[in-house]
Symmetry: C2
Subunit: 216 residues, 2 copies
């Protein structure tokens, strides 16, 4: 499958690398083509990896992952171009983290908006599905590294078919066992707000290798 | 033990009732003494239950639970009186829920403050411990009703001794098995932000009888 990955940071490299290892063709997109991060990743990832601009990656992908930093996320989607993402599933894993006041970071969206909703507003023709932002990137692509995979991932989005497809991707590609549908894209607020708890638990546990399991 | 409970809503009634059933003397505090909620609760709860003003309950308690509604929380603490809470452990279970725009509620504190921190600022001489706000009140006082108690509660506060005392209360009175210390009172931001995810999960699960367990 042809997949676009927006963002050349740790999250983009981890997801992109996993997808290449699964046999997908992956184009990593950045503000400008040929950046050092992207070129190094391509060299390391394998022969089905390539890189270009945000627009190149968006055009290339049948599915696109948004792995940009929260602060630059919407600008990156604008550069990727609504036409290049029209009708496609956009998997949004971003978090609105503000590190400007030191650690732990705060969230810059407030509680009546989210980056997931902002992405959907920016790209009304794309099918935005919020997911994976609630765990560290190593856990995103390998759920079994934590407690054998016995914990929960969430999805939120306006398109039921897109959420079903993303849930299947999470399960068959990344090893997730439990995927809970939280509703429309406004539920991204809950998933992004949770990250404020995640960073505190990370501080207390001294590891990012954890997740939550909903128990009843 | 003599315990003050601020707030006459479902949370205050549930916590107060549990404490009476454990043999504690409990005074429920409200804006004005003799309100209907408080009088009915006293009648139902048993002979060691009583009611009065916020100040009465704060003065009475060796330990005080703040179970007021988020929007009225700080005003209630002001009415309770700093002198009446000086040196005491204040267990803050409030959430900054804003229902004014319908369901699900949003949070009114933003991500750079919390009701836990606001309570500690209002009462510098009290030992504020944030806890229990991450679950429904039935689960608060009976952790075993969910998955036999195999899930997590958090505490945050500036006083290590107070947190240890509250952790012991959670375990021995309310059946909690796992209590994770998230750090100083600013970690209340994480615990209160999480509630935005809780309300979405509540909507998806169609039950409030759930909690999260951190798995590693």
């Amino acid at each position: 499958m042809k997949i676009g990955v927006l963002g050349t940071g740790t999250v983009g490299q981890t997801i992109g690398g996993k997808l290449v290892s699964l046999g997908d063709e992956v184009k990593m997109g950045s503000r400008s083509a040929g950046g050092e991060n992207a070129r190094e990743w391509v060299k390391k990832a394998g022969s089905t990896a390539s890189e270009g601009t945000f627009a190149d990656a968006a055009r290339f992908g049948e599915i696109v992952f948004n792995c940009t930093s929260g602060a630059g996320s919407i600008e990156a989607l604008r550069a990727a171009g609504a036409a290049n993402l029209e009708g496609k599933v956009l998997i949004d894993v971003t978090n609105p983290l503000d590190f400007s006041k030191g650690m732990p970071p705060t969230l810059f969206t407030g509680s009546t908006d989210s980056l997931g909703e902002a992405a959907q507003r920016e790209l009304p023709g794309a099918k935005v599905v919020k997911t994976l932002n609630t765990v560290n990137c190593d856990v995103m692509v390998d759920a079994r590294r934590v407690a054998g995979g016995d914990h929960d991932m969430f999805v939120a989005g306006n398109d039921a078919g897109a959420k079903a497809q993303v849930s299947e991707i999470l399960k068959s590609w990344f090893g997730w066992k439990n995927v809970l549908d939280l509703g429309d894209i406004s539920a991204a607020r809950g998933m992004e707000s949770y990250v404020a708890l995640w960073v505190r638990a990370w501080g207390a546990l001294k590891t990012a290798d954890f997740n939550i399991k909903i128990v009843r």
